[in-house]
Symmetry: C2
Subunit: 421 residues, 2 copies
């Protein structure tokens, strides 16, 4: 039985020591322990503040995954479950992260230390607001759009002049796209400041809505110094913008929580830089842990790579990450999983098969902008590909049927992007 | 010749592709590139906004270091130098970090991607304040202390009652220690709130100073939510506290820069969690890159592990990291390198030999609290060990000489901590 007043974490560890002893050293470093007994380390303190090893599952010998001071030929691997007393952490996110993912990665006695899972106490979860909009609130702001939402990144992602930028947004908004987002690199450059981007994009989106009846959401990247965060958010909201974007790993969870405390629009959570502490399986934390913290801090949309992407994660891993975003987390609103990188008409089929949901946003860069019939056909083809995926109709069949009725958007998309289709 | 308007970065990469092609893809992802040519990607944009590959040094074939979608047996390794146009980044730290250490770690085509070095344009450096106090300002606040500063962490690190805490601080302050710091896990827990810690510690330190004449600095850990950061800082300053501490990797560089904008006392920069993106040599960034950002954001003290520590880094790596902190960075004030973990009377010798400087702060936990003659003798023994190191006198010789004159603090420390002495 899990103690309801503790944070339960599961780590993959490698050590020369007995796995149980290695776990104890790690747990000590992250709670009340020190290497030498010191005066004042009473039984009361150990009882109330020490992390407890709940379970140790040994895997036998392996090669050490990470460098250290020593360089043993073989170490023992284990999966270790640790309970951290909530009393040490309170309900603060930064303190939680320090406890479960702080100094422990530095320990020379460990040749792997990977936080694979975390179960938070109800009291901890309840102390945080979670997303203000999530899936439902986002749909509402995009003309109550149903099914998978289709979005794209402004391309070229950097270097556009204001007039070039205006034309890109106009084309996309006129194509009734659901979301346009800034590139993660596009923040507030002198050649195209955020204020001008906001003015131009909201103007073009309003004008397009008059024609199409569809309200496109724009995720303005307000990543940057914290002193100006509120002002950048207000610039977006005052111009009628409906979404702000934050590069979470670069800004930190506390910055996300701060933004959540005053944000009047959904927060689009980008993950640029996250792989630095996630890609090595021997170090850092799994996405399923990270996303819990990002949700508690208040992200409405969360990037999760994409099936068939150009990024490193396997499709099965991406699917598991998406599912983790849709798992309940206390009473919080469910965030919108955002798929990106290499997304086009060929990816809805495998994505729906692996996740079984249409509560998703799919971002297609080239898949929209590089459609041979223009971005309008790009957006349409992606919606049609999702319809086929949900209906269980093979992509090429659906494309051919549409083409037979005079609508070649999907077929041309398949021909352009669907090498494997 | 380096373009003075660009950020020069050196990466270690592994890829199945020609190293030059892999470098081009990485540079494209991090500037103006996309995988499919899109309308509007003009020659002007490529010219002004694309990152440029300046140098590629091939190392031949190796085993892939990181997992990815594909799983090749062999890949080619290379050291690649890339210039990122400052025009993309402006002078914003979060944008810089997104550009040089963002999505690139995710790229499936790379089986290693490690940022090893960075040279910033003068204009970028000049746009940031850097440390307000650094080494000199810190010395001034600690009774103009000379030589290596000696500090310690409150032990036990969590769980102390207010009265227990008071006695620990009293003992250390009466021992004329230079710095006492909170553990990185100790933030603002209900059982010993920051406000009470500040009240008690400042009171005890003032009282001790009346006796000893020595002004001990206390680094109060104000890590936590950003909404309360200013208030926590003010609590420290209003009580007469002389230092605040921040867990930088957990809070983020923007939070550090925000704190710097209003901090009236030195910022003690802890690195808890940093190893998650640093310990795998195939991923993340080297300390020499990270510390430049932390210095620009305004950290006065920066943790750098310690020689002979219980952490993973080799002594040579620790020494190089310390030296990187002492390298000039534009016109900014030099920060104070902080050595911790496993530090005791045996470490000054090797540390001085490797770094040649006394502009350091050495934190000894057990080395102070667990000295058989009490913390006063612990502090004294560490100062004496540093004196011996600087004078080139072997530790045991120095200890014996002191003991012969009736001062056994160093000898007892050697006997207690110096298994290898």
């Amino acid at each position: 039985m899990r103690d309801p007043r503790s944070v339960r974490c599961t780590y993959y560890l490698e050590s020369e020591m007995e796995p149980a002893k290695a776990a104890a050293i790690m747990a000590g470093e992250q709670s009340s322990g020190t290497f030498l007994p010191v005066p004042g380390e009473s039984a009361r303190i150990r009882e109330r503040h020490a992390a407890h090893i709940v379970d140790v599952q040994e895997f036998g010998f392996c090669k050490p995954s990470l460098p250290s001071r020593a360089n043993p030929e073989k170490v023992r691997a284990a999966l270790v479950t640790v309970d951290f007393p909530m009393e040490n952490v309170g309900t603060d996110l930064a303190t939680l992260q320090t406890a479960i993912a702080g100094n422990l990665f530095e320990l020379g006695d460990l040749y792997a230390c990977r936080l694979q899972d975390m179960v938070l106490p109800e009291d901890f979860v309840a102390a945080h607001p979670g997303p203000a909009f999530g899936i439902g609130g986002t749909r509402k702001l995009i003309s109550d759009v149903q099914g998978v939402m289709v979005g794209t990144i402004v391309k070229p992602n950097v270097g556009l002049s204001e007039e070039e930028f205006r034309l890109v947004v106009r084309d996309l908004a006129m194509a009734s796209i659901d979301l346009i987002k800034d590139d993660e690199l596009m923040t507030d450059p002198a050649y195209l400041p955020l204020e001008r981007r906001v003015a131009v994009a909201t103007e073009e989106i309003r004008a397009a809505e008059q024609v199409t009846g569809h309200a496109t959401m724009y995720a303005f990247n307000i990543t940057g110094d914290l002193a100006g965060l509120r002002k950048r958010h207000d610039t977006v909201v005052e111009a009628g913008g409906r979404c702000v974007m934050l590069n979470i790993p670069v800004m930190g969870m506390p910055a996300l929580a701060l933004l959540r405390s005053f944000a009047e629009v959904p927060i689009h959570g980008h993950r640029a830089g996250l792989a630095a502490s996630m890609r090595s399986k021997a170090l850092g934390m799994d996405y399923r842990v990270w996303q819990q913290m990002a949700r508690l801090a208040g992200a409405d949309h969360l990037h999760a790579s994409g099936l068939g992407s150009k990024f490193y994660e396997l499709d099965a891993e991406v699917a598991a990450n998406i599912r983790s975003l849709l798992e309940p987390l206390g009473q919080t609103v469910t965030p919108l999983p955002v798929l990106s990188s290499g997304q086009n008409v060929t990816t809805p089929g495998p994505t729906f098969e692996a996740t079984g949901t249409t509560d998703l946003m799919m971002l297609a860069g080239g898949g929209v902008a590089a459609h041979p019939d223009g971005p309008g056909a790009g957006v349409k083809s992606l919606r049609q590909a999702w319809e086929a995926a949900v209906d269980g109709i093979p992509l090429l069949t659906a494309a051919t049927r549409r083409a037979d009725t005079g609508d070649a958007a999907l077929l041309h998309a398949v021909q352009t992007f669907g090498k494997g289709a």
